[in-house]
Symmetry: C2
Subunit: 318 residues, 2 copies
């Protein structure tokens, strides 16, 4: 049995407030509990509130733009989170100001956990939660952007189910599911920034051991397949420019590039050999755009390609 509580009655939080003291007042903690705190109150306590609009604050909070359409700008933040408007929030804050995400939410979670241990003697896990959209689904869910003392992913690779099948790639992101469960008890309109989830003490690490943090839930830039929105990917690839390359990921296998070139330029002659791909026919700009997206670059002209004069491509490894 899992229980989730999010009581009313938390006071308005301001700079310097001791969140652990508020949590300790609200809940009768037990070892193995998971305490969730919204990023908003963490930010308020840490003074991450500034005057102005979300648009004013966006450039400083953006590491790179992932996609843009109409009024929506989806960016990757300094934390590696991919969020609309960099997670800058204009709700539940004084009008005319916005709340930025905590600078280091894992550190925020660790500080709260340490303070709760000192204050109550209880060993709990702590999550800092935020609200995030999803690429392909309507609505938002709460996710864990900071974590301390918690296994955030349960890696079942190598485990065997009751039928003897190996669970090859199953790795429940339990910290995100805990954040979502907390949101169900909190709602968005009432002042319930704290929640307590009880019943998964198997996920809570020993006192003093903080674990990998929510940073472990962030897929590294270039390791995902969706580093750019579909339109932005086309613009970036056709424009070129080294600073845009990383989000397309590590260089593809030669076969993958060959297949892409054949699909786009059926009239070209393409050959992979000795870590390079040689193409005859097909215009240079189209070829270069394709190669860019696959992490390759043109390196030299060759005059002995099977289809006539050609261009040689190699992986763009730094």
């Amino acid at each position: 049995m899992i229980t989730v509580q999010a009581p009313d009655g938390a006071p308005e939080v301001g700079p310097g407030d001791d969140l652990a003291a508020l949590v300790a007042d609200l809940f009768d903690l037990a070892d193995g509990d998971v305490v969730t705190v919204t990023s908003k109150v963490v930010s308020k306590a840490e003074g991450r509130v500034r005057p102005g609009t979300r648009d004013d604050a966006l450039p400083d909070e953006t590491r790179r733009v992932v996609a843009r359409r109409g009024p929506t700008t989806i960016v990757r933040t300094s934390h590696g989170l991919t969020l609309a408007a960099a997670g800058i929030d204009a709700s539940n804050v004084a009008p005319g100001t916005v709340v930025l995400l905590p600078e280091d939410p894992d550190a925020s979670a660790r500080a709260i956990r340490e303070s709760l241990l000192a204050r109550t003697g209880r060993n709990v896990g702590v999550l800092v939660t935020d609200t995030a959209g999803r690429a392909w689904r309507e609505g938002q869910v709460d996710i864990a952007i900071g974590a301390a003392g918690l296994r955030v992913i349960v890696d079942l690779a190598g485990s065997v189910d009751a039928h003897g099948n190996e669970l090859a790639v199953t790795a429940p992101a339990v910290a995100d599911e805990l954040a979502g469960a907390a949101e169900l008890a909190q709602g968005k309109l009432t002042a319930r920034p704290f929640a307590l989830v009880r019943g998964r003490d198997d996920l809570v690490l020993p006192a003093g051991e903080h674990g990998p943090g929510a940073a472990a839930l962030v897929r590294p830039d270039g390791a995902d397949l969706f580093g750019y929105g579909a339109r932005e990917a086309v613009v970036r690839a056709l424009r070129g420019g080294e600073q845009d390359r990383a989000a397309f990921g590590a260089p593809a296998e030669p076969d993958e590039l060959v297949e892409a070139i054949r699909e786009v330029l059926p009239g070209a002659t393409v050959e992979a050999a000795a870590g390079s791909v040689v193409v005859a026919g097909g215009d240079v700009r189209t070829l270069s755009g394709l190669a860019f997206a696959f992490g390759w670059r043109p390196v030299d002209a060759v005059d002995d390609a099977p289809g006539g004069d050609g261009l040689r491509f190699r992986p763009a490894t730094p």
Copy 2:
């Protein structure tokens, strides 16, 4: 307070089994409860098991390929779900067979809900859950792929927080958060396909009213910004072909296309006028690829463009 229970002891499910009977045996249901059932047991009860591997079954379960890298193929299914390997599952099933997703998970949820009402007299919400990866985050979470009798998204647009700010775009996808909460109680290795979530009876609709189903959580094809992986987007745009156009979305505003062309081809002369965009300079293939991604197409040559002979583009609205 929200509680989540997922008892051990559910029997192995086979074709034709009555899932509502199993649920009614496991739980002492109350009005307003939410019952979750994994898609796997729904599929088993509906006979959606077939011999072979995931790769064998994939083509029939794929509406279109979204992204591919190495052994990973992410597709959009007939349900509109974007899932690795179309959600085909080789775990918790007899070796040598795979489980396909239910054909119509919302209908499956409705049937279970109706049967639970008839059997127990209780008005509950029912979710069919599945495990899904995320574009930018490690690990998987459970989501709702079928729903009956439940508000799946709580649309707070127009609501006002305690500070008087309007919550413009906040719409918690509560059905997905409920699915994730259920997973926390179920785990992946034990036979706990059913869970009961109590404490959000405000989300459960009156008996006989099934609501929009989990289909309402699917962002329509072309309405998301990530209809293709970054590499696939470049290949699709440079290849052209009408069947690939929809996933890039509705035609962009003229200004958005103009900005993209200026970014990629700084030497071109670009002008938007009367619902068309005229470009002089820049090679046709690059321009056409860009226009494709933005939902536009070349329509005719013009000889009076400001920068010399040019090409006119118009939105590719059917």
